[in-house]
Assembly symmetry: none
Amino acid sequence: MGTRGTAEAADRPPKAVTRGNGLAAIMQSARGIFAERGYHGASIRDIAKGAGLSLSVLYYYHAGKQELLHALLEDALDDCRRGCETALATAGDDPAARLGAFVQATVEYRVRRQVDSLLALRELRNLEPERLERFVERRDALPKLLHEIIDDGVARGVFATPHPDEAQRAILAMCNAIAQWYQPGGDLSVTDLVERYVHLALTVVQHSPPPRRSRPKSR
Amino acid sequence: MGTRGTAEAADRPPKAVTRGNGLAAIMQSARGIFAERGYHGASIRDIAKGAGLSLSVLYYYHAGKQELLHALLEDALDDCRRGCETALATAGDDPAARLGAFVQATVEYRVRRQVDSLLALRELRNLEPERLERFVERRDALPKLLHEIIDDGVARGVFATPHPDEAQRAILAMCNAIAQWYQPGGDLSVTDLVERYVHLALTVVQHSPPPRRSRPKSR
Amino acid sequence: MGTRGTAEAADRPPKAVTRGNGLAAIMQSARGIFAERGYHGASIRDIAKGAGLSLSVLYYYHAGKQELLHALLEDALDDCRRGCETALATAGDDPAARLGAFVQATVEYRVRRQVDSLLALRELRNLEPERLERFVERRDALPKLLHEIIDDGVARGVFATPHPDEAQRAILAMCNAIAQWYQPGGDLSVTDLVERYVHLALTVVQHSPPPRRSRPKSR
Amino acid sequence: MGTRGTAEAADRPPKAVTRGNGLAAIMQSARGIFAERGYHGASIRDIAKGAGLSLSVLYYYHAGKQELLHALLEDALDDCRRGCETALATAGDDPAARLGAFVQATVEYRVRRQVDSLLALRELRNLEPERLERFVERRDALPKLLHEIIDDGVARGVFATPHPDEAQRAILAMCNAIAQWYQPGGDLSVTDLVERYVHLALTVVQHSPPPRRSRPKSR
DNA sequence: CATGAATGAGAATTCATTCAT
DNA sequence: CATGAATGAATTCTCATTCAT
């Protein structure tokens, strides 16, 4: 909550926000408060207060609480999808490499946008039905993509899992869960985290030859 | 909602409960509504209505909304723990068997008490801090237990995973997720589900010799 | 506003309302405040305060502001219609007598329920479309009835007006307007008021033989 | 809303106004919206939007909502009074002729400025007390004038009404009501309307010799 | 003339809870 | 066990208005 950006220390008036960037302040505050207390537990008043703004500005930028949540979620999803797409675009054709790229992108996203990840995981159901439907459609592209990667690996004989459905679900579940426990400042670096989860994923799909986590020039 | 009594007279108003089991009716209704809308999204009035009872009956049985949630969660946790303990009590000493028993108990629980599972997964944070602390302490016995099983297997050389922490988290995450997607009436029986998740778990910990899911006299 | 009933003076606690008759108090207060400030100008808070109750009781009795207005209007309309029906039921067959009865009922109603009259005249448009439609349908029975009386008189040759439509509108308009200016305590008694408006109405429809408003000096 | 400019380029956003007549556009929009939803039900934002202008333009021209309403009402009243004065100025000395002129002016006004008429009838009470008082004073010149005409006719023996007060109120009430039901495009022309209401008014005051609506068949 | 950003007061409504019976 | 009536705090949202540009 408190920990704002870097160069924002001394010279500000009672307002924490300078005129003109109200939107960003609100989004940021909403992210935190929605994540902390849940959609219904979060009051729009507190969000505004957290942004250092008056209650009503919120309505200048958004049509309401619901739309605010929606905006947050859409934004997060876009970022997540972009991450995967980029990763896969450079991963080549090998199923194991593709799976690795997918997992890496997902894990990194869960860490990079941990709060948004929690939002997407928990608060989705609070979208109005219509919004929800459209959102889920877009989101489901990701599990589907993962499934295709696994199916491809199985077809080519490099993934030996007898249960591709469960493998897909398991991989996603374990990656998603990261947002719930990972502590950025802790003793597990993101690089290591990624490496371990890629390993886990390859294990889950029973990749053979045994996943040599060699990667000669691992950054 | 669903479980109506047998001898229900036709001319009775929407009372879903026969005199005497008010408590059960309330718990049942609360389960459903809390799960559907979340703690803050659920109104105690709707819970009472869902139970076919008046508001005040609810207050006769429970001190308030918070206590109601707490009761639900405690009940669910007890059940979950009992399931694991029972399963492990008869599993013997073999790490693989113990892991299998743990997973089986967990999966079966997630299916048997799917709604409560969702509650425990999502609504925990709405417990008052004090309650939460006590609850989490008790709940954390389970991951810890799982961790011990894995560590034991690793020590004995039957689990080859280089990342026991991640393995433990992954196994729990994938089991927990079941509550979010499993459809009881669907084409995946609980027996099959359990078998697959046991397989998955053994795969995750890199159990060798290769997990023969033989079980000659599988029930 | 201030002027409550007769025997309600000394012995009451801080609350102006005794437990159990909240509904009546609210309706009474709403009548006054809606009439005084208009639907949108009246705040539900003030209505509650005027009733000596808390804001939320209002919602115990009514679904909301809109429904409150609706209840008021329906009640008023019922009373108005009943008045006319009763009057006409005993008026016999003579068009002049019938017109007299109609006017008398209307005028008396406007005086007896002056506040509700103002509401019906002014706040009708604030009913939601659906409610409005149903209401207007019922209300329009009255102008229609008046029109029939006039047509009948014209047909029988006792009303000489060349413009029955305008006559009907004029009679209604002038009767309705009474609610806007009549002062109960003033020097014009209701009896006189009625007599004058019956005379006016008969004049408007050009009733002949010349309306002998004789009644030597009844009462 | 309706009256768009003539040379309106196609590619322009929903600006209903061409630069320069902002004031008129605002007044027009306010008229419509105040009449439709009432003073308190009308939002100044919608008025601005209806005029195709930004909120602040509105504040450039008017000090606020209240002043906007006031301006509208004053304008309307001026027009109304001017109409009567002009009509009476050329009506000569005969009470019947004067009454006819008065009614004609009033009826024509109610039709010509139907919306403003509704405003004046309904929204007057929303003027701040001080404004209201001054306004009512000016407005009351009209009923007073009508009363004088009637009194004059009675004194001269050409109006036989025994109730000049009621006659005056009735005539005004019926004329005012026109704004509530008249439909400009309908099958009743303004000329006819005026003729009928002049007849009605003369009937109400019991003008004798019997109102010869002679005018053989003028237009 | 015109704008976009912001505010504070107040609107209706909901909700957990209590109390007398 | 059970009810109906009532409350007060909090919630989302709207609105007239202002201000810097």
